[in-house]
Symmetry: C2
Subunit: 200 residues, 2 copies
DNA sequence: CACTAAGCGGACCATAGGGTCCGGTTGTGT
DNA sequence: ACACAACCGGACCCTATGGTCCGCTTAGTG
């Protein structure tokens, strides 16, 4: 591959990542190409179609998330909090990257193998994190990775769909709700921060 | 208004309602007009634009939901379960009407005054339901209507975004998670049903 | 330096969706 | 029965988007 070609590919990846972060995967390829300073032709020569570009960018981002979670599992084998440490990190990343969890559980993208794999891996990781919490009696024994996934996805979708992004304070509060749903009562905690103000 | 005009308006409303139920508000006005057996011109003569049609249909559906909730408030002034009775009903309706909660908290539709009002009314209703639960010590005192809204919206979005609609069993399970998040520990209950199977 | 294949990018295409328009039709009061 | 306003509906327009194509440019090698 020629040097300039590689450089352009890189530029597209970076531009796509930036645009996805800010606007979600709905941004048009045209805008991405413009941001990258290349023509549409160049973009599509490097990525078969938009889905392939999404898979390339988000696959990597999700990979980082998975690494983070696996790292947590290794670091402290008896941390009852590990699930919520991870989920908090996940939500924080989602907060500065609208696209991060868009591809997970979305009919459109479940057909892209690379993302399907990331989804499965994420569920597996959540399962492992929960298992740790269950061992020390922090997590309800019947709770599953899918249960947690639903709550987290819901939280993320809710906050990124809203007009203006929710305050970090509100997100922390919502995380406390997730915690209350998943933990044994004595591991619950009071809700932090203020509720979202009524719009208008 | 001429008789045939009125009849056509009605047909459009019914067709739109049916299409929204099944496909969500994303269906094209063309499909709605076809289903109603009228031309696009007729549709747009009766409703200024697509948003107006959505507001007309969903406004009515949301009104029914509000009536249901207010009815519950009147019927038994000491029912600790009233919040979850309502939310279960809400989720059941959403299950057979993809569009029901789409308009709530969606940037696109928060600008339509009629739906904005319905949103505010829904939050107010949830607040009243929760207040009842708090009085008898069933609901966490710091929990707010917005907290519940987030959980319910998340649950609904999660289930209607998925490839195939989730099993009713799974939705009941998720409702138990919502309950766990909102209630005092002794009002929680074990999760019903089986978790969602891993896709592929 | 010159040649050539790899690479470039923007003009172009097809599709889809919301919304408008107008020539023809039809309900309805007289 | 007639006239005419109200009404109809589909052809049409405009915009946006994903994706293709091809004449021009340029990296890089002999």
């Amino acid at each position: 591959m020629r040097k300039d070609a590689l450089r352009n590919r890189q530029r597209v990846l970076e531009a796509a990542d930036a645009m996805f972060r800010e606007h979600g995967v709905e941004v048009s390829v045209g805008e991405i190409a413009d941001a990258a300073g290349v023509g549409r032709g160049t973009l599509f020569r490097n990525f078969k179609n938009k889905d392939a570009l999404i898979a390339a960018v988000l696959g990597e981002r999700l990979g980082e998330v998975l690494d983070y979670g696996r790292q947590l599992l290794v670091e402290d084998p008896d941390d009852a909090e590990v699930t919520f440490t991870f989920v908090t990190g996940l939500v924080e990343r989602q907060e500065e990257n609208r696209a991060l969890l868009q591809t997970v559980t979305d009919e459109l993208f479940m057909s892209v193998p690379e993302l399907q794999g990331a989804h499965a891996a994420l569920l597996e990781l959540l399962g492992a994190l929960l298992a740790r919490g269950k061992r020390v009696g922090a997590i309800r024994p019947e709770a599953t990775a899918t249960d947690l996934m639903m709550l987290v996805k819901g939280l993320c979708m809710y906050s990124s769909t809203d007009q203006q992004p929710l305050a970090a304070e509100t997100i922390m509060r919502h995380l406390d709700l997730v915690r209350a749903a998943m933990t044994m009562p004595e591991y619950s905690r009071p809700l932090r921060g203020a509720p979202v103000p009524l719009p208008v």
